[in-house]
């Protein structure tokens, strides 16, 4: 058991290194700029390979966009300005954290609504179960049968 867990951990570590190795190499430059670029581009979606971030993608367009973001960082633009620059061209789609808008309300409120619905369902089910769990009243015949059982210690009907 321990060995298989160790093997699994080792495999996880190895996949981690492989993924890391595939990440696009950052161009040499001011480490502060590169750090900001990295943080920013991890939150931006690549449009060519849509399930990769701008930081992870090696697509031509991602390289170009990273270069432009780098230029803007060097030019002293704030992260918000750079995000606005990108969304003006590619829309909110590039943001992995979309802003709260009329069209994205369901996206943001959805998990909370689902949680509330699930809790309400759980509450109602539990309440119904507790109500049903109350011992049902015995009819006259059943009561007599039960008493006979208790007094003789055996079932009179099975004799």
């Amino acid at each position: 058991m321990m060995r298989s867990i160790a093997l699994l951990l080792w495999m996880l570590v190895m996949t981690g290194t492989v993924v890391q190795a595939a990440e696009a190499p950052p161009a040499a430059g001011d480490p502060l700029v590169e750090q900001r670029l990295k943080a920013l581009s991890h939150e931006l979606r690549c449009l060519v390979c849509q399930n990769q971030s701008l930081a992870d993608s090696n697509a031509d367009l991602a390289v170009d966009l990273r270069n432009q973001v780098r230029e803007q960082i060097v030019a002293g633009k704030s992260d918000a300005e750079i995000r606005a620059w990108l969304t003006a061209r590619y829309g909110d789609f590039v943001l992995y954290r979309p802003p709260l808008k009329a069209t994205t309300v369901l996206l943001w409120a959805g998990p909370v609504l689902l949680l509330i619905a699930a809790l309400a369902g759980l509450f109602l089910t539990l309440r119904r179960r507790r109500r049903d769990a109350v011992a049902p009243a015995l009819s006259e015949v059943e009561r007599a049968h039960a008493e006979a059982l208790l007094s003789t210690g055996s079932d009179p009907e099975s004799r």
Binding site: L47, V48, Q50, D60, L61, D64, L65, Q68, T87, A88, R89, Y90, G91, D92, F93
Partner: protein, 174 residues
Amino acid sequence: MNRFLIPLGVFIVLVVFLGIGLGLKPREVPSPLIDKPAPAFTLTRLDDPNLSVRAEDMRGQVWILNVWASWCVACLDEHPLLVEFSRQGLVPLYGLNYKDKPDDARAWLARHGNPYDVSVVDGDGRVGIDYGVYGVPETFVIDKQGVIRYKHIGPVTPEVLDGTIVPLIQRLQS
């Protein structure tokens, strides 16, 4: 009764959402540039690097900007259609030669025919980014006021051309 109706209801809702999801085209990201002024550019012409073209030069007429490249395989799909469309002479058709080598681009046009009134060179792809280009070919319809009215991502098909682009141009021209 409820016992079966509730799971069935949930199941139906899931199926409906799945059905809607299957109909979506996740590769076609709606452009925020629709109904916005076309980004300005000044680019040199592919046929003569000494001449340049500005987006503002096109004011007062409806025109089409088609993003293409010689390395773009899908561009060949729409190419015959564009050649035929340009023969009608309905509107000026401008090409944005995106991240291409000018020699390759000229050779490509010589080989497959040149539908463009003018092609301009966007060698580093900066103007492409300004236009929100992420998948070549892309086609923009720009009105007389210089506002982008329509964008098509991917190769133009006869259905899109005859069903959407041409009627839109006729409406914008009148």
